[in-house]
Symmetry: C2
Subunit: 215 residues, 2 copies
């Protein structure tokens, strides 16, 4: 059985895992779920991933892994080259803290299901939802810009000249931001890292618009 | 210089790191920040942790680590015993996925700053904020209960009979839930794991009410 990525073309967490699989040079098939239609809540998918969230990675033996950062850490442990985390515990903590500043503090608050709750349950209008989205991006991106601009370990990417976990999260968030026209002018360092990601087919192929089931 | 944990007694992410430090038997001093008064946004704290979030762990050499999960992974790498993650990549992915189901999908959406935005910017009343909080806990806890109830690796804790990263996140979330009187009846497996945590001084001392600067 082949490796199968259960995912959605536009999901930011799905973009992360696609980029990681591509960077590792690992083959996978796609099964796609349309989140707005609730396909990730179907009994068939819930039997694979009870958390009912994409992405989920199904391995050749049928094992299903959930949560994008857990999946990427697994890939990095099981397929060490090229490494997506630095070698020393302190550098790893630094890169994980950048990744989590996005994956814990920006993305979950701006997830589709949260935006839907604002719209459907709280009656927040389109402009209010866009303001919410941009607020949490700015809350997270402003310190990331300051931290990365000042960090001597930064090269073309967050840590040196090879992409890793933090770049993957940053890239996916910037792709996600496009839906709400987030202005990147205040974040030149983040924009430069993203531009370096876009020079690599591993990242470009992970973009929503290049997904085989993009619609 | 001693190890210093910059934290807030009631912050769920601070509870996690306190429990991890206690489980590892590592000494630390507390510097406390009152979030409602914005003390974590002071220039002094921002110069230590530009992300302006607690907890942050300052090591003996002055290095500051941010993001609770990154800090705990660092502690587990730098002080391997007792281990907070299992040994194999697949088991580690499983435990990280449980931890992230809480730390990425429940807690950030229910963080103080998000609840304040609902109240102050969107005019949601107290009951609406409580409904929001309980909604995201239920969205996350229901699948966690099903997953853990069915998992053969579960013992007294999420993975076997020793506490680890997932238990730490679960314990901190359940402590956080008390402010909104979340009913634990639908989650007997999660409640049992929490009860086992409460038998250990490492966890009990990490509770908000046992913090030296609790108010």
């Amino acid at each position: 059985m082949s490796r199968v990525l259960h995912n959605f073309f536009r999901s930011s967490a799905s973009v992360r895992v696609r980029a990681a699989l591509n960077l590792k040079g690992l083959d996978y098939e796609h099964v796609s779920y349309t989140l707005r239609q609730g396909e990730h809540r179907s009994p068939a998918f819930l039997s694979l991933n009870p958390q009912g969230l994409v992405p989920a990675l199904q391995l050749g033996d049928g094992t299903v892994l959930a949560q994008s950062l857990a999946i990427i850490e697994y890939l990095d442990e099981a397929y060490p080259e090229p490494a997506l985390l630095p070698a020393t515990p302190l550098d790893r903590a630094w890169i994980r803290s950048l990744a989590q500043a996005i994956a814990c503090d920006i993305h979950p608050v701006n997830n589709l299901r949260v935006l839907q709750y604002l719209d459907e349950k709280l009656g927040i209008d389109e402009e209010g939802v866009a303001r919410w989205f941009r607020h949490w991006v700015a809350e997270g991106f402003a310190p990331l810009e300051r931290q990365l601009a000042a960090d001597p370990r930064r090269g073309r990417f967050c840590h040196g000249d090879a992409p890793g976990l933090a770049d993957i999260c940053l890239f996916a968030q910037i792709a996600n931001n496009r839906r709400f026209a987030v202005d990147m002018t205040p974040y030149p360092t983040l924009a430069a890292i993203n531009a370096h990601c876009l020079e690599s087919p591993a990242f470009v192929e992970a973009l929503p618009e290049n997904h085989p089931h993009a619609s």
